[in-house]
Symmetry: C2
Subunit: 413 residues, 2 copies
């Protein structure tokens, strides 16, 4: 089955936002065995959108539209899709109730703007998909000639859960060939290096295939086999995964599709009955915030510290003034004392500390922007790691979070 | 002049990478006053690429292609563009020298793979643009009927400098009309409500136009006028911006394109010579991390606290056990004591505290998921705010960060 994506939104055409929806949906479609040959972006303009929908419906079996379902006048994806399908819009009582329920009891001062009722209109004869994170429902249209159109809201935090919960499973049922895939998530190795390490596997691949996905400081490899049953697929995938395990060793942090690095760390701590606390300088709270992404993180984290100034490092963590004086705040010695100090101060079993220079200013020849020290205290031992990272302030800080969590993982494995 | 973008690459269709090139080029085109109505992505497939180029040339004045200029057999953008233009490929001696120079003196003895000479071939009659960061040159084709095609390499670190150094200036010379735009960033009002408040302005718009961009808990309005000069553009834009100021009042936190809410808060604190510290429960460090997005935030933030457990709230912030007992951790009273406590503990002038239920578990009828209390201590006064937010764990936490920063902004304005 061929699919194509139409992202609707003037903000994409103006470059105000990056089209992460297209990347997410393309990856999900690949996973479902859907062949995506075209993606396009059009603005909130009826004529051009209609033209794009018609062209897509002509050449592909499935057209996935995102965006333009909002409550404003600009939003006309639903109206235009209805036109393309030759159907009318009708008010859906269930959606109307959902919208009312969504607003009920929420912030006292939010009244349901009249506009929002527009979102209760759906295309006649479509399958309505609930939006758990917003007011615009998703719509599935089954059209003559085995063609289908799917409309989803544009905000990624509404679209992604809707796809994963409802649209993906709907599409999976339509596929005849069974695609079996496993994920191997690797961190601590750069993308080029990781791919070079398995170039021979990638070059000779037919079935299964290995698809690399580069993330911040991580590479995820999806191994996918096309087979008649999940069991037959698994038999094809297993030896490839075994080979990846041999090559990447403990750089593999999980083989579960949905498991994040922070969930692995929280899980390890939970099983070991340990508490963690962070002492963050360069990341300013991002490590703690990332751990708390995991529901139930309160069982492993009581408190955490952002010690940005030298004074805070001394006062909260007991870093010695002499250490700061002799080696500086960005040094292996300071990272070590921060990790040890945060365990003492909080009573946590595991302490993770980071200190570094995120830029754009503050670098020098000896200590350039991107220099970072990580310290981790666990099982009575303190280990440190030095990083020299590239990129802007945001990229450096995001990378430090991943590298620090990975360092914790290795220290407590 | 209308422009459209064609991004070439199977890795985009598989979702292996996010199309940041399209966002970059769209923004640059908007800045140059080029009207971009279409972006598309096609794979390294001659038939589909040729079709895409022909369609784009038909409906737009300028077609910008990125990707598919590499040395491998897969790369066929140049060949296909030549076909669409009815021209041949010819070897360019200057490019050949550039490629030799690029490899000379590189690591060890990298030999120039035969493949790389393919990159010395250019489309006959095109303007060749040097690539300072790689081996594939850019090409500008001036075609009959005032049409133009521009080919650039796909890697962003080659494409972006090439655009900024050469392609952008080339295009700027072609433009007659000037686009002048100003930004008005609003927070604390939902998207629907914000648009309802200015519906009459949006409905009647022609020149200038008002484009709304919804962000997490924010709406940004870009007011754009098309004129003969920036000065003439500003004259058209000014009265609209004045009207927006009247309607949104202090919900407008900035009118600078590149200024974030956290930058506004850090700037206010810097000008007032004040320090801030956060006491975060539900956000787990995100507020501090967001403030530290701003380079130079160290002048206003020495330290910050993640007090996730009740024990930490008592020990670090001096929240009374009786308060926690009587009202619970998620209560106005606790938020108030947290905000006051963090000022005392850290010596900061401004204390921001958040406590709430992010879910998915932990909610009850009296205290549902999404219930959040914010406390802010400033100028010897403590104010609190109650929020009832919707969405998943991530969305609730992201919203709390924005609302808390906005609350600080209002308290210290």
């Amino acid at each position: 089955m061929t699919a194509e994506l139409i992202s609707v939104g003037t903000e994409l055409l103006l470059g105000n936002i990056v089209n992460t929806n297209a990347a997410f949906l393309s990856e999900e479609c690949a996973r479902l065995g859907l062949l995506v040959y075209h993606q396009c972006v059009v603005g909130d303009n009826e004529e051009r959108l209609l033209e794009a929908i018609q062209q897509s419906l002509e050449r592909s079996d499935l057209v996935i539209l995102t965006g333009g379902l909002g409550p404003t006048k600009d939003d006309l994806t639903k109206e235009t899709a209805a036109k393309a399908a030759g159907r009318r819009l009708v008010t859906d009582e269930h959606v109307k109730q959902q919208i009312a329920a969504y607003f009920k009891g929420r912030e006292e001062d939010v009244k349901i703007a009249e506009n929002n009722w527009k979102q209760a209109e759906v295309i006649e004869g479509s399958i309505v998909v609930d939006n758990k994170n917003g007011t615009a429902p998703g719509l599935i249209l089954e059209l003559p000639g085995e063609k289908r159109m799917i409309l989803m809201p544009g905000p990624p935090n509404e679209m992604k859960p809707m796809f994963l919960d409802s649209i993906g499973p709907y599409l999976a049922k339509l596929q005849k060939v069974c695609l079996y895939s496993e994920m191997v998530k690797v961190c601590g190795i750069g993308e080029s290096m990781a791919e070079t390490m398995i170039l021979d596997l990638i070059e000779g691949q037919e079935n299964p295939t290995i698809a690399p996905y580069a993330k911040t400081s991580e590479v995820h490899f999806r191994v996918t086999a096309s087979a008649e049953s999940p069991e037959a697929g698994k038999k094809l995938v297993d030896p490839v995964v075994e080979e990846l395990k041999k090559r990447f060793g403990d750089n593999i942090y999980t083989r579960r599709e949905e498991e994040t690095l922070e969930a692995v760390v929280v899980g390890l701590l939970q099983r070991q009955g340990k508490k963690i606390a962070a002492a963050e300088s360069i990341t300013g709270g991002l490590i703690a915030a990332t751990l708390i992404n995991v529901p139930g993180a309160s069982s492993v984290l009581n408190e955490s510290f952002v010690t940005y100034s030298n004074e805070a490092k001394e006062k909260r963590l007991g870093v010695k003034a002499a250490t700061l004086e002799a080696f500086g705040a960005v040094s292996e010695e300071t990272a070590r004392e921060m990790a040890e100090g945060v365990c003492k101060a909080s009573g946590a079993d595991v302490g993770i500390a980071v200190t570094g220079i995120a830029g754009p200013d503050g670098g020098s020849i000896e200590k350039p922007v991107g220099l970072v020290y990580i310290g981790c205290r666990a099982d009575g031992k303190t280990r440190t790691e030095k990083l020299l990272l590239r990129g802007n302030r945001q990229k450096i800080r995001d990378t430090v979070v991943i590298r620090a969590l990975d360092f914790v993982r290795r220290c407590i494995l």
